[in-house]
């Protein structure tokens, strides 16, 4: 789930009902009726992420657990409550930061593409009018200079706290935290080897490590250590 996000779950701020759960608020916007490529353009102001976002929806969980042994249900609910406190809040932060940086990155890139397009058009017009209307050439040259200055300005502001590595880092951590959530819930290695408080402490430690960008040497068999 890494697009885009919309990464993944990449965080399309306006997901359609067929997309998986995301933190994005479901709000209809003008671009809902636009062609798909326009829907994927960045937002001027990205909608705020849902602060109560859950990877496991409680109402659906209740439905799934119906008819199962009470102790088994309680064990799952206890794990989910602990994950909420120790991991999910970190996931939410990383996920929303990744969406924010992805939007920032694409905004700058679209800005450069727009400037490049205008610059190309001005260059074409200069060639066109060189012989027929030379008096407009200085104006076109001035416009070309303005484009160069705007591109430099954009490059300078995007160079401070570059959005691309921030997007990648946050998305990688968010996705790793998501997998860790289910690894703990399903009791996969390494959580199967410890019990009680040791198991909980192991999760806290691994979640904190992933959040600071230190990925466990191995996420476990098949876990795709990165």
């Amino acid at each position: 789930m890494s697009d885009q996000p919309s990464t993944p779950t990449t965080i399309s701020p306006v997901p359609d009902p067929t997309t998986p759960s995301t933190q994005a608020k479901k709000k209809r916007r003008w671009r809902d009726s636009m062609p798909e490529w326009i829907k994927q353009l960045p937002y001027l102001n990205l909608p705020k992420a849902d602060p109560n976002y859950q990877l496991v929806k409680i109402d659906e969980l209740n439905e799934l657990m119906r008819g199962l042994d009470h102790h088994a249900q309680q064990r799952v609910r206890d794990d989910i409550a602990f994950l909420e406190q120790e991991l999910l809040r970190l996931f939410r932060q990383r996920d929303s930061e990744a969406a924010l940086q992805q939007n920032r990155y694409r905004k700058y890139q679209i800005g450069f593409i727009s400037l490049a397009t205008v610059a190309t058009i001005i260059g074409g017009l200069q060639a066109l009018y060189l012989g027929t209307a030379p008096r407009v050439i200085p104006y076109l040259a001035f416009a070309e200079t303005l484009i160069a200055l705007m591109a430099t300005y954009l490059a300078t502001i995007s160079g401070r706290e570059p959005p691309f590595p921030a997007w990648m880092n946050n998305r990688r951590r968010a996705e790793s935290l998501r997998r860790e959530y289910f690894r703990y819930l399903i009791n996969l290695p390494p959580y199967d080897a410890v019990l009680g408080y040791e198991r909980r402490m192991l999760l806290s430690r691994r979640a904190a490590d992933i959040n600071r960008g230190v990925f466990p040497e191995q996420e476990g068999p098949g876990g795709g250590a990165k």
Binding site: W37, V76, G124, I186, P221, G222
Partner: protein, 214 residues
Amino acid sequence: MTNNTNPPEAADPVVERATLEAMYRLFNRFTLDDQKRFYTSASQRHRSASRQVNSLRALFALGTGVASALAGLLVTSAFDPNGGCPVNMAVDACRNLQIIVSICTWGAVIMPSLAAALNILADLYQWDRLIAIYDAALENLEVADALSPDPEMPVPEYRNALQSFSIGALGVMADETAQWGQLIRTPEAIQAFVDAEKGKAERASSGPQPPTQP
């Protein structure tokens, strides 16, 4: 792979079985199904965006060709060799022709620029390659899904199947994230443009250059 996905603190076999079933239902719904829906939807959305942008690019390329050809035809056939209207042409007709030639000429300048912009946009979003990644991930998830435990399995087999199934699915997710991360790059055309414009801005900022001596 270890074979001890024991639910913690579940010594009672009935409780253990119920806990394993709860885990399976949870994982199946909130990981596997969610992920499958995401891959399917992302693939469809990217396919649609790619097709639309490609159509627009083709349309602009066609428009450029038509506009250039039409402008050339009108200039050579309707105007005299100096670019003026023939003496026998009405003033209004001459003016209309000049407007049409201007529109065609502007179109021949603007449309290729827009096509180039869409080209860079496609490079930025990498729709075609993302479609391939999501389609492959979806197929791999189906492979992981094939390992899902059967309700009639005894507890030890059920436990092993659940572990293989969930580890397989998490592995697909991890691989997809890694491939996606390697795919996303800033288009070279944008970087080249920024470098070129910085050079121009520096030259502009240094003020007008003195005329060189002949």
